[in-house]
């Protein structure tokens, strides 16, 4: 190192050594200590058990929508659908909505459902909730829904509430009114009992 008598040259001489070294250190940190990029983790895999999927084919969140011969639209969605050994299909967590041409709509929710092989009858089981736009909120244990013509029929007793009070009935059918094809009726049969509480004056 040459001898210098003044501080300025001495500082510059030292800087000529330190600065390149610092530059070298910064440059090397770019490659040596930076985070390892793991090319494997870049693509998120679905964590569903693939083997189970192969063994038991199923659809998640399937939806079916169709129209009956008399013009009512049916939209059915489920959380999961699975073909039954070659005859029809089963579904879980099912929701169906029927919108009839007269503007009324009825929603059905059921725990499980099965479609017959010829795709014309959908039977909802395991507790069905029915909510109709005319204000009826009913529950029954199972219900069969014809997909080719508008006919939703409960297999057993129905209970629930309507705009005019609480109601129980032996059976319930939602279908076209005989004789007036444009209007749809919710018919409670096999004995119906309604309790209406008049508003206290």
């Amino acid at each position: 190192m040459a001898r210098f008598d003044n501080t300025h040259s001495r500082i510059v001489a030292w800087l000529k050594v330190i600065l390149p070294l610092a530059a070298l250190a910064i440059l090397s940190s770019l490659f040596l200590i930076s985070r390892r990029i793991d090319p494997e983790a870049a693509i998120p895999y679905a964590d569903v058990d693939v083997a189970e999927r192969l063994r038991e084919p199923r659809m998640t969140a399937p939806t079916y929508s169709g129209q009956t011969s008399d013009g009512a639209a049916i939209v059915v969605s489920a959380s999961e659908a699975r073909p039954d050994q070659g005859e029809g299909a089963g579904a879980a967590g099912l929701q169906a909505e029927l919108t009839t041409p007269d503007g009324a709509s009825t929603r059905f929710e059921a725990a499980t459902a099965r479609v017959t092989p010829d795709r014309t009858v959908l039977s909802l089981e395991g507790g069905v909730r029915i909510a109709s736009s005319s204000g009826y909120d009913l529950t029954t244990d199972s219900l069969t829904a014809a997909l080719d013509r508008t006919r939703f029929e409960s297999a057993g007793a129905v209970q629930g509430s309507g705009p005019i009070g609480t109601l129980t009935a032996g059976r319930m059918v939602l279908t076209q009114e005989p004789g007036r094809p444009q209007s749809y009726v919710l018919v409670f049969t096999d004995g119906v009992k309604l309790i209406y509480l008049p508003p206290s004056p």
Partner: protein, 141 residues
């Protein structure tokens, strides 16, 4: 010319719950009109009204019933009196039952018939109109 009839037995509170039972109830999905059919029995407190079919008429808010239109042979009865007619309209809020179509009213031994009978359940009175005929047994006891 009407005959006012005392309906001691029929006096009752019209805010009691109304229970309607029938063979069948059909509700139109579009306008929500409801019709009970098949030996309909309407019960409220002491009063029983049975009819062939009853159509429900809703209030404005659609949550309350204003009138029950009963047709197809109506019988209104309670402990002591019974009245029969072809049709009847029961307005729940005012407690007024209007029975029309050859009305026959029996009170204990005596009977009264006419074309129209208007019963006020709250006051327990009734007015029979139209060709009123009455048969009563003179108090022999």
């Amino acid at each position: 010319q009407g005959a006012t009839v005392a309906f001691g037995g029929l006096k009752q509170d019209t805010s009691l719950p109304v229970e309607i039972s029938a063979d069948q109830l059909s509700v139109n999905q579009a306008d929500g009109s409801a019709t009970f059919a098949g030996n309909v029995l309407v019960g409220q407190g002491e009063m029983r009204l049975s009819a062939g079919s009853v159509r429900v008429e809703y209030g404005q808010d659609g949550k309350s019933i204003t009138r029950l239109h009963a047709t197809g042979g109506v019988t209104l009865a309670n402990r002591t009196e019974a009245a029969e007619s072809r049709d009847a309209v029961y307005t729940i809020a005012t407690g007024e039952v209007v029975m029309t179509g050859d009305v026959m009213l029996t009170q204990g031994q005596s009977a009264l018939s006419g074309q129209k009978l208007v019963i006020d359940l709250k006051a327990g009175t009734g007015v029979m109109e139209g060709r009123v005929q009455t048969i009563f047994v003179p108090g022999g006891n």
